[in-house]
Symmetry: C2
Subunit: 326 residues, 2 copies
DNA sequence: TCCCTACGTGAGAGCGCTCTCAGCAAGCAT
DNA sequence: ATGCTTGCTGAGAGCGCTCTCACGTAGGGA
């Protein structure tokens, strides 16, 4: 039952350990007939290299850490982004024959754990997925000399490589759509000002409106449905004549829809609503929600790719999905 | 920058490698003053054991694999169960100082990869989270002698330990609620017959109805919203006089709600609707959905716990959440 | 013919750790 | 005193692998 070692394979193939090692690792300097013999022995014995032994000498771990640096409640409940990231990272890691070690680092104790683990040679690099751009963890890890890639532009001023989605551009295209369909008083329910997505989407809204010479009408939410509901109510109070609203998340848009219905406004007739994220429920909303879709899977893939072979930060484009609410 | 080794710590503390090892691993046979000295040296140098070296000799990996044995599309999109499982497993693994290695094994190539990886000493055990109870992977892994725990009762007849949620009981309590509120013609939109959750929830529905002497009215769905919509339409056709429906998933219940609205039936006045899962959208449905809540986080925790210290399979209770739809 | 390169292979060290076993000191009984 | 246990520490082997380096052996030029 116990796994065969290099030694066993070598004995079977009638060669030395070193040669088997060369074959297993794809060295080109092995004579063809020997390579074949070794491969047969590997096959027959069902040999699989012992990763621990390999890591010990190579000082590589052949695995990467995917760290969710948030109170875990948030991480998986609402945000569909994370699912895409996980899948994307996994796909790319598989392709590169790396393992993905998942770490949830919600608490400060968690931060410390992650720091200890990742900086002591267990992984070749770390992907930090944190919603709050000001998270100190990425920079802390980088300081230890371990490769780090952030999901979402870091707000810490650090120059760490990151993969982000074009939040500004996405917001702009949402507002542009509203403008082009003849809306004149366009409000927004913005995300929290301590998250990149919140900040950038608001920026996109602002610049687009400014360019068109219109006034901005802003309520601040926290991406949750309830905050969307309240934000909409406030907006309605601030400017009863508004004819469109851009919510910085679909959840908030859903809340806004509800508030609008309650206030007796028809969507999209009286007020156009546009969301952000394209969560599954968006297409089932009443009316189906026009929104901005994000390439979350691709984000995961780019994250892994960027970690595995370093390069420039990546900003992924979004896509306007027109349904009925706007 | 390079991490200190045991040797360095030993030198600093003026003892041997063996002693440092003993201290680090919490052996009791070390004199107090020496233990203190060693701990100080560890602290000062920021020593962290090299896991690879340790694994090499102990033959343990101190990590567990969490395998999602499904086409990945499914895994993360609809099903909120997985998020809870991931979190639960992580929490419990952290507590036991184990790492969680995430593997997506959708394809058959993926299965093979997982099999090779997990059976060659890289992990101490595997948690297989597959929706289809007849998945051959768990048994295949167990055959290699590696500890395996399944999320969801396996349908393969294997006697592997598993953690499941009391689907039968949950369905029963849903139907009981319907019965107790005076409904007489209770239909169900069942889940797919190749998944444990689908089978067991239907069983619960059936036994409860049989016990009350009522007739069952069944449509088969696949847990998706669209199938709920269609299932409801079919049900309405089969028995226009039905006054309640138990959908085996909230997504299907949402679809049913839509179909009912389209057919001009009021919920809950004409037809009571009850779902299963308690997904976030359930509480925002119109009307808010009465449903069965599952302890997904706890499921994850129990999975990890069962893997770490083997014992009897666990079946977790559900909870009826009464809202307005029934 | 002899040397020199080129190429392929094997010997062996050593990655950082654990764990067995021997060694030594101290305490007790003989 | 001597022998024996008890309690703690250090020496050293070795986990399975990679990688350097030395060692053939064959081929080409002088």
């Amino acid at each position: 039952m116990s796994r065969p070692t290099l030694e066993k394979v070598a004995a079977r193939a009638g060669v030395s350990r070193a040669t088997v090692s060369r074959v297993v690792n794809g060295s080109t300097t092995v004579a063809e007939h020997i390579r074949v013999a070794v491969q047969r022995a590997v096959e027959e014995l069902g040999y699989v290299p012992n990763q621990a032994a390999r890591s010990l000498v190579t000082q590589r771990a052949d695995s990467i850490a995917l760290v969710f640096s948030e109170p875990p409640v948030r991480v998986f409940s609402d945000d569909p982004t994370f699912a895409g990231i996980i899948r994307g990272v996994s796909i790319e890691a598989d392709a590169a024959d790396k393992q993905v070690v998942l770490m949830l680092a919600g608490s400060s104790r968690g931060h410390e754990r992650v720091e200890r683990y990742t900086t002591s040679g267990h992984v070749d690099g770390v992907i930090v997925a944190s919603m709050h751009g000001a998270d100190p963890l990425p920079a802390a890890l980088a300081r230890w000399g371990i490769p780090v890639v952030c999901s979402g532009r870091p707000l810490t001023g650090s120059s760490l490589p990151y993969v982000d989605i074009d939040n500004v551009g996405g917001a702009e295209s949402a507002v542009r759509h509203l403008l082009e369909s003849g809306r004149r008083r366009i409000a927004t329910i913005a995300g929290p000002p301590d998250m990149v997505a919140g900040i950038d989407r608001l920026t996109g809204y602002r610049t687009m409106l400014r360019d068109s010479g219109r006034r901005s009408i802003i309520a601040i939410g926290d991406f949750t449905r309830d905050s969307g509901f309240e934000g909409m109510n406030q907006l309605l109070e601030d400017d009863p004549a508004l004819d469109a609203v851009f919510a910085a998340s679909d959840m908030m848009a859903l809340g806004a829809l509800q508030a609008l219905r309650k206030a007796g406004r028809r969507v999209p007739d009286d007020v156009a609503v546009i969301g952000y994220d394209d969560i599954p429920s968006a297409s089932y909303a009443d009316p189906p929600l026009t929104t901005i879709r994000q390439p979350t899977l691709r984000m995961g893939r780019e994250l892994a790719r960027l970690l595995l072979n370093p390069g420039e930060s990546v900003i992924l484009p979004t896509e306007l999905v027109v349904r009925e609410s706007a």
